[in-house]
């Protein structure tokens, strides 16, 4: 599309969208209808009905558990689709920027970077597991810890060359690890169905409810981290 045509389209769309957006209530005003009706319901009923002090986790895992199930299925099917698309071609090296193609230059890994990454990795992993487990009290939760853990695994795969491709990627065991998110959700949902009669519902007993929430968060976190490192490996090797 020509550049001037796109700019004309942008100006027209911009005027229309700004006219629509100006008529919303002022951002930050505490008496907008979104604050007084919807948010007040979650603030009042969040702790008893939701079962978690972190209201975002209560909304994600209890009030809207079906949406979170959809999100976990989406990221898992993205991994399946990437594995189907990435064809195995000749010239695959270890995961990293060094390539045998003639059009790119290869980057050497400096030993200082490798040492720092290997030094920091256990602390990052501990922090990720802490964020996952304390997700219902402090800011955090399932996918936050999973994203930090996945980023740490990608750093290790890039710079420390630690896992040899055959040892890290044993296909049978790793497949079940990547499906942990979906499996944990389905199992906890069926358990809720057995206990209360509604799928994805949590019982009123606080101990059982907290146990189910922690199981869900660990499942989402570990499943998310395994899917992210699987995506990186599929792109780098294929």
């Amino acid at each position: 599309m020509r550049s001037w045509l796109a700019i004309v389209l942008m100006v027209v769309l911009g005027v229309l969208m700004i006219i629509a957006v100006i008529q919303l209530p002022q951002p930050g005003s505490p008496d907008a209808p979104a604050q007084t009706h919807v948010s007040a319901y979650y603030v009042e009923g969040g702790k008893e009905l939701g079962g978690a002090e972190n209201l975002v986790t209560a909304v994600l895992l209890n009030f809207r558990a079906l949406d979170t199930f959809g999100e976990v299925v989406v990221i898992f099917s993205a991994l399946v689709a990437v594995l189907a698309v990435a064809a195995a071609v000749a010239g695959t090296g270890p995961a990293g920027i060094t390539r045998t193609a003639a059009e790119t230059e290869s980057v050497e890994v400096s030993p200082l970077v490798a040492f720092m990454v290997r030094l920091l990795a256990p602390f990052i992993a501990t922090f990720a597991v802490f964020v996952m487990l304390k997700g219902h009290v402090l800011p955090g939760g399932g996918f936050q810890g999973g994203a930090v853990l996945g980023a740490m695994l990608i750093l290790l795969a890039l710079f420390a060359h630690r896992p040899k491709p055959s040892r890290f990627g044993h296909p049978a065991g790793l497949f079940w690890l990547r499906a942990t998110g979906v499996l944990a959700f389905v199992l906890v949902g069926l358990l809720g169905l057995a206990m209360t009669g509604w799928m994805f519902a949590m019982p009123h007993d606080p101990l059982a409810r907290e146990a189910m929430m922690i199981a869900l968060e660990l499942g989402i976190g570990i499943g998310g981290a395994a899917v992210l490192i699987g995506l990186f490996r599929a792109l780098a090797d294929g």
Binding site: T104, P139, A147, L235
Partner: protein, 83 residues
């Protein structure tokens, strides 16, 4: 205009500058790094607005995972954008 609103406006202005930078740069690695800066300023904006969960996720995913996946693809595809 207090200091809080001034910082708000400054961050919003930096966001728009970063987005324009992504549009205009021809070197793809530089565009990905500008996108990482954009994602990080967005994370700061959300931390100011009282959304710590979203800020944590955006910091880990936007600047960490998306940028690394892009750079892995650029290593295969090529750095310059033609025309």
């Amino acid at each position: 205009m207090g200091i809080a609103e001034f910082i708000d406006l400054l961050l919003l202005g930096l966001l728009i500058v970063c987005a324009l930078g992504v549009a205009m740069l021809r070197d793809l690695v530089a565009a990905v790094i500008m996108f990482s800066i954009y994602s990080f300023i967005l994370c700061l904006l959300w931390a100011i607005r009282g959304a710590p969960d979203v800020a944590m996720t955006e910091a880990a995913v936007g600047a960490g995972i998306t940028a690394v996946l892009f750079l892995t693809t650029i290593a295969v595809v090529g750095r310059r954008e033609k025309k």
